[in-house]
Amino acid sequence: MDFRFSEGEEAFRQQVRQWLKQEIPQRWVELDPGIWEETEESWAIARQFHRKLGEKGWLAPAYPKEYGGLELSHMKRLILAEELAYNRAPVGVEVEITVNWVTPAILLFGTERQKKEYATRIARGDTIFCIGYSEPDAGSDLASVKTRAVEDGDDYVINGQKIWCSYAHLADYCWLAVRTDPDAPKHKGISVFIVDMKTPGITVRPLINILNHHSFNEVFFDDVRVPKENLVGQKNNGWYQVAIALDFERSSIGWAATNQRIIEELADYARETTRNGQPLAKDPLVRNQLAQLAVENEVARMMAYRIAWMYSKGLHPGYESSMSMVFVSELSRRTASIGMRILGHYGELDRGSKWAVLNARLARMSLSALSIGVGGGSNEIQRNIIAVRGLGLPRK
C-alpha cells in the first residue's frame, strides 16, 4: 500500500498548478461561474482555454498520441482533473461530455476516418459535441428512444425530438442515438450517428435552467439528412455502444476537488468571521459540521482515487464508479446546504448582490447541485447497479 503519489506525479501536479496560475484568465476568476452557468462570455473564455489545454495535450490526455492525445497515465489524469477542478479552470461540462464520452466511443467503434477526423480535433479543443440521448418520454430509459432514422440512398433521414441536450446551441456536432429498426425489441434497433449541427432541419430550442442560464436545449429533427458514413459502429447496435460509453471513466474527482475547495473556503470564512463576539470557528456546531464535511469529502476523494488506481492496475471499474458518483453527488448537496446554513442570511445572497460573501458560491451551488444525481443515470439507478452488479443481488 502507498497513498502517496510518485515523485513524478507530484512534479506533474506542481507543473499543472503553475501553469493554471498563469493561464486562468483573471476575468474568469471574477466571473466565477459554477456548473451549468455558461454565459456567452464564459463560453468564449472556456473555448479559448480549451485550445490552450489542447496545445498542452491536457484536454484529452488519455487519447492515443496518433489522435492528439498524450497517453498520460491514469494517475496523472487524476491529478490533472483534480487540479483543474480545484483551481476552477474554465473547463465545463461540455468538454467532459465530448472528451470522456464521445471520443472513447469513436475510438472503440468508429471507422478510421471518424477517428482521425473527430478525435484529433476534439483533442485540440476545436470541436465540441452535444449528446442526443434523452427524449421527452425517455429520460433514464434510453431503450425507449423514438427518434427515427430511415435509410434513403446514401443518407439516413432523421425525424424526432431530443431533450436535455446540453450546449446543443453551441456544439459543432451531435452524438445522436436514434431508432433504426422500429420492429426490433426495445434494446435492439438503436443506432448512433454523428450529426453536424449545421445540417438543415435541425431546430434548437433553449431550456433555461434554474440558475437562469441557457445550457439545455430541446433539439428537433425534421427530415435531417445524415450521410451513411456518419453512422458509428454497427447499425442497430447503438444501445450497447451507448451503454459502454456511459460506463467510461466518469471522473468523480472533479466534484470532490470542487467540494474540497469550498470546504476550505468555508473554514477560512469561519475563522475570519465574528459572530456573537467570537470567531464563528469557535462555535462547536459549526466546527462539528465543517469537520464532518471534511471527513465525508475525504471518503469521496478516496472513492475517486480508487477508480483511477483500478484503471492503472488494468482493472475495469463498474459499480465502483456508480458508488463514487452517488456519494459525491449527495455530498455536494450537503456541502451546499450546510455551507449556506453556516453563512446564515449571508448565504442567501445571490451573485452580484451587495453584502454577498464567498462570491455567493454556496447559494449558486445549492441550486446547481440539484442537477447532480438526478435524471438519466439517477442515483436510484446507480444504487440498483451497485446492488446488482457490485453485490450480486438478484435483478428480479
Binding site: S134, D137, A138, G139, S140, D141, S144, I163, W164, L207, I208, N209, I210, N212, F216, R275, N276, G277, L285, R333, S337, M340, R341, G344, H345, Y346, G347, E348, L349, D350, R351, G352, S353, K354, W355, A356, A363, S366, L367, L370, S371, G373, V374, G375, G376, S378, N379, E380, R383
Partner: protein, 377 residues
C-alpha cells in the same frame, strides 16, 4: 382535543386557495419574482378587498378581529401558492408591533390604512451580524430636543423597498443589558437620510439594506415605551416565526402534491415512476415530513392564538419545519429529475423559499437552542 380546522377556517382556506389560484397564478409569481419591486399593487388591492391585511386586527381599526390561528390558515395557503410580496412583512412584522404596543393614536393612524391596503410597513431589526438577538442591534437613536437622530445600518430587512414606514429597533441608551435600552421608532421611509437598497437573494424575496444617516424623527414616533422595546420585539419574532412556519407548511404540502402527481403520471421503463419502491419511499418520507410540520406548526399557532406560553412550541415548529421543508423540496427535485431543474417548472420556486424560510428568524440549530432551554438544559 380537536386537530381539525373550524368550518369558518375551512372556508377561509378554500376561498384563499381559489383566490390565489385565480388572482396569483404562477405566471404572476414569476413575473413578480423577476420584477424590481416584487410587489403588485393591483393584487394588493384585491387582497385588501378580501380583508386579508386586516384579518387579525380589531374591528375598530378596520380589521375583522380574526384569530392568529385564522392568520396561520391564510399563510398556509399563501405558502401553498408561494404568494410573493409584502404581506408577511406588512401585516406581521409591521402591523403586529403597532397592534401590540401602539398608542391609540398610532393604531388609528396605521392599522386602518394597513388593512385597506394603502400603507405598507416593515420591521427594521437585523444588522450586519445577521442575528436576532438584542446585542446585535447597534443602530443608535440619539435624543435631541424632542427629536431622535438615527444612525446605523439595518440588513436583511424584508420588503423595505416598497414600505411606506419602517419600524426601526434602535439603541437609545447604554443599559447594563443589551436588552434594556432598545426603542421602537416609526420612520417614514421617505425621510431624508434613509437609503434603501434591495439585496439579491436566491429566494428572490426582497431583503434590503437600510441605512439611516442622521435621520431625524419626532419623539412622537416612538412606538411603545422608550428603552422597553425588546419584549415587544421578542413577541413579534415569536409570532413571526410560527407565521413563517405556517407559510412553509403550505409550501411543503404543495411540493408533495406536485411530486406525487408527477410520480403517478411519469412513465419510465414502461411503468409510472411512482410504482418504483425507491420513489414510493421518498414520497412516504415527504408525507411524513409534511404532516409533522403541519402538527407542530398548528400546535404552536394555536397556543399563540390562545395566548398560552408558546416559546418552546414555536421553536420546535421552526426547528422541524425549516429542515423538513428543505428535505421535501430536495426529494421533490430528486424525483422530478431534469424537468425540475428548469426555470419553467415550479419546483425550484419552492426550493428557493424553503432555503429562505429555513434561515429567517433563526435556523434549526438556533431554534434547538431555545428548545434545549425549555428542557432545562
Amino acid at each position: 382535543m380537536d386537530l381539525g380546522l373550524s368550518e369558518e377556517q375551512e372556508m377561509l382556506k378554500t376561498s384563499a386557495r381559489d383566490f390565489l389560484q385565480k388572482e396569483c397564478p404562477k405566471q404572476l409569481v414569476r413575473q413578480l419574482d423577476d420584477s424590481e419591486e416584487g410587489h403588485s399593487p393591483d393584487l394588493w388591492r384585491k387582497m385588501a378587498e378580501q380583508g386579508w391585511m386586516g384579518l387579525v386586527f380589531p374591528e375598530e381599526y378596520g380589521g375583522s378581529g380574526g384569530s392568529f390561528l385564522d392568520l396561520a390558515v391564510l399563510l398556509d395557503e399563501m405558502g401553498y401558492n408561494i404568494l410573493p410580496g409584502p404581506f408577511f412583512s406588512a401585516v406581521i412584522l409591521g402591523g403586529l408591533p403597532i397592534a401590540l404596543t401602539g398608542s391609540e393614536e398610532q393604531k388609528m393612524e396605521f392599522l386602518p390604512r394597513l388593512a385597506d391596503g394603502t400603507t405598507l410597513l416593515t420591521l427594521a431589526l437585523t444588522e450586519p451580524t445577521a442575528g436576532y438577538d438584542a446585542a446585535s442591534v447597534r443602530t443608535e437613536a440619539t435624543a435631541r430636543n424632542g427629536e431622535y437622530v438615527i444612525n446605523g445600518t439595518k440588513l436583511f430587512v424584508p420588503n423595505a423597498n416598497v414600505a411606506d414606514y419602517l419600524i426601526c429597533v434602535a439603541r437609545t441608551g447604554k443599559g447594563d443589558q443589551a436588552e434594556s435600552s432598545l426603542t421602537l421608532l416609526i420612520i417614514d421611509a421617505r425621510s431624508p437620510g434613509v437609503r434603501i437598497t434591495p439585496l439579491k437573494t436566491i429566494a428572490r424575496d426582497r431583503q434590503c439594506e437600510v441605512v439611516f444617516d442622521n435621520v431625524v424623527v419626532s419623539e412622537k414616533n416612538i412606538l411603545g415605551r422608550p428603552n422597553e422595546a425588546w419584549p415587544i420585539v421578542e413577541e413579534v419574532l415569536q409570532k413571526a416565526t410560527v407565521a413563517k412556519c405556517a407559510e412553509m407548511v403550505g409550501g411543503a404540502q404543495a411540493v408533495l402534491d406536485m411530486t406525487v402527481n408527477y410520480a403517478r403520471e411519469r412513465i419510465q421503463f414502461d411503468r409510472p415512476i411512482g410504482s418504483f419502491q425507491a420513489i414510493q419511499h421518498y414520497c412516504a418520507d415527504m408525507a411524513s415530513d409534511v404532516i409533522g410540520s403541519r402538527f407542530l406548526t398548528y400546535k404552536a399557532a394555536w397556543k399563540t392564538s390562545e395566548g398560552l406560553p408558546a416559546a418552546a412550541d414555536v421553536a420546535m415548529a421552526k426547528a422541524w419545519t425549516g429542515e423538513a421543508y428543505e428535505r421535501v423540496t430536495l426529494l421533490g427535485h430528486q424525483i422530478l429529475g431534469a424537468i425540475g431543474f428548469t426555470m419553467d417548472h415550479d419546483m425550484h420556486l419552492y426550493y428557493r423559499r424553503a432555503k429562505a424560510g429555513q434561515t429567517i428568524f433563526g435556523d434549526a440549530d438556533f431554534q434547538r437552542g431555545i428548545v434545549a432551554r425549555g428542557q432545562g438544559l
